[in-house]
Subunit: 393 residues, 2 copies
């Protein structure tokens, strides 16, 4: 009677959302202090002070029609100009306002970009471990996801990638800093990727696009450098979100930046406009477009995430877990001691530990622990991690 694919997507939900809902229910039953919810990338660090200041200033100075009215479909011109200028200043590039399309977060950006790029039968390469919704967005765009396994240090496994690319490849999604494993792709890795894609583009006679999903661009530790991919590989579309950099995930604000130097840049931008229309996006939320433009240089308190990172990484390693040392984002990727992430994360629930099985990340031996929680939650959860570990070794 209905669309079966949508029904099955809705019934299954994402494993992450499922856990998040379970946690809320469980907290109501046994008390929030007995649930250690590491499921969702919902920042615990408050929005930077500039966000509240910007909101209040806008609310108190702008007339309602400017503040709450429709903007152009691609976003308010002054906002897009501010975003482009900021990118140009930071990365020495030459984006214009008309290369920027404001979106309801990076998820919308990805869904729109994929719909603009792909036709039925196209393939989109996903580099494991990857955010499970990528597969959903790729299929919704009529394309087929092709998974490439990770190598030992969680950089790109180029031998696998080489086999995964085909004349049907339209794009590859690159997510660095990476959710779920916290790795940052080095400039060397990205250059090698760029060279391989350039070579294949020549061979196939059409460009292969990188879609750079970058919600974690600003969340890096130890002074690590995150290369801006359009400077390394020209056929790149960036999907950015302010969800993490401004701790505003519920407000759904981000942008697509189409590299003006990419193949067919003007056409691609218009196809993005069209895809936004087709998917029902009229414009990105107007107040938060303006808030974001005023807070392009604001950052959340990274120190809190950094402390959590060190505490959780050190403590879990000490217990005996094998962990990937995260360089960015706010996730710790931990190997299930029995190599079965689904069973392990299910067992963890009994200890009140909500951690996401890597199955949907194409990493069935690993689990993701989101450490964007209070430090206290981590401290209190450690005895439970210890008990859980002892069950599995």
């Amino acid at each position: 009677m209905f669309n079966d694919e949508m029904l099955s997507l809705g019934c299954k939900r994402s494993a992450i959302r499922e856990l998040f809902e379970f946690g809320k229910q469980r907290a109501a039953e046994v008390g929030a202090d007995k649930v250690y919810d590491f499921s969702l990338g919902n920042p615990s660090v408050p929005a930077p002070a500039e966000v509240k200041e910007a909101m209040l200033e806008l609310i108190n100075t702008l007339d309602d029609k400017t503040l709450h009215g429709y903007t152009s479909a691609q976003g308010d011109l002054s906002v897009r100009t501010a975003v482009a200028d900021s990118l140009n200043k930071k990365y020495g590039v030459s984006f214009g306002a008309d290369d920027i399309y404001m979106t309801c977060g990076a998820a919308a950006g990805l869904a729109i970009t994929l719909r603009a790029l792909c036709i039925e039968g196209d393939e989109v390469v996903l580099l494991a471990p990857y955010f499970p919704e990528y597969g959903v967005f790729v299929k919704a765009a009529g394309a087929t996801p092709v998974t490439v396994k990770f190598d030992g240090d969680f950089q790109i496994d180029f031998a696998s990638l080489e086999k995964a690319l085909s004349p049907k490849t339209k794009a590859i999604i690159v997510n660095s800093p990476n959710n779920p494993c916290g790795v940052i792709y080095s400039e060397k890795t990205l250059k090698k990727l760029g060279e391989m894609l350039t070579e294949r583009a020549k061979l196939y006679g059409h460009p292969l696009f990188i879609i750079a999903d970058e919600p974690y661009r600003e969340l890096v530790y130890d002074g690590e450098n995150v290369p801006f991919i359009p400077t390394v590989y020209s056929d790149t579309v960036v999907c950015y979100s302010f969800s993490k950099s401004l701790s505003l995930p519920g407000e759904r604000i981000g942008y697509i930046a189409v590299n003006p130097a990419c193949n067919g840049a003007r056409e691609l931008y218009f196809a993005i406009l069209g895809a936004g229309r087709a998917l029902g996006y009229v414009c990105a939320p107007s107040l938060f477009q303006r808030v974001a433009a005023k807070c392009l240089n604001a950052r959340p308190d990274l120190k809190a995430y950094d402390e959590n990172r060190t505490l959780l990484y050190t403590s879990l390693c000490k217990i005996g877990f094998e962990c990937v040392h995260p360089k960015g984002a706010f996730y710790l990727f931990v190997k299930a001691p029995n190599g079965d992430a689904a069973a392990f994360s299910e067992a963890a629930k009994k200890h009140g530990l909500l951690i996401v099985s890597g199955n949907d990340f194409a990493a069935p031996e690993w689990v993701r622990i989101a450490y964007c929680v209070s430090k206290d939650t981590i401290i209190k959860s450690l005895p439970s991690f210890e008990k859980l570990y002892s069950e599995f070794v």
Copy 2:
């Protein structure tokens, strides 16, 4: 190289958006006072005072994680409860929180509902005159739009509808008060529609859904009654928006209400959850979910719209135009004196009058004039309407 359909959608834009952009450009060139922009349904009436109060209260009392964090995909539970309670109180129905899905406005609601309902090959009936994006959303869901002409008084032409329905019909979109003609479907019209759909459902062996697009539900004049369609016809999904009732079109906030008494209600709700995921909607903007919940009974200053309505209707009739007397929404539907809306609206541009040709509304003899502008704009525009008229008779 890209998706041609999306590219063509993006290049064409909607006729309305095209005019809106032209108006902004034209205002920059010749001065805003020489451009009478009647193109877009962008409310001129400020948001009701409750909106600002609610925003400030929320910003000043809620912690950032609650205020700006992810909500459940279907919307915050307290918000959905408030929406359901409000519907139940107003219309004597029995909606629960789990029948409500918060959306980024009615456009998102329609795109999501159509995607949840339809499979390739389905047909969706559109009652002319209709909002042009309906066709875009229907096609994006893989279905085919089937247009039914209007009758003399702009109610439903049942003889045409009878021919348009087929075993492939999955749904019919009903928009009352109507954009673009301002008509409200009477209870009698809706009952007759319900009877016809019930009969066909029996004949075809599957339900035919009404998708009630209701952004203008609260914008009615002369004490007119807008029947709540789920009370007339059970297989109804309501797509509501706060864009007009709270003058917040840019904030993208609304909801889908699935009638719990409809066929397959639970499944349909889950298919909507799935479609939301597939289209990249993570949750509706969190601050404005809460603002909307606090302002369910707030209304904009309808008096201003009502004055505009009377002024514009009377003045244009006096000039000689044939106009539909609007009972709701904020659009005046006017017959092009030469019967060619495209040529007429193009000629209007030369007088600085931005009015939308009815071609894309499936009413090629009519134009739409959005009177959600300042009264001053209407007064100053009248001499130009007079000149324009004289060119055509």
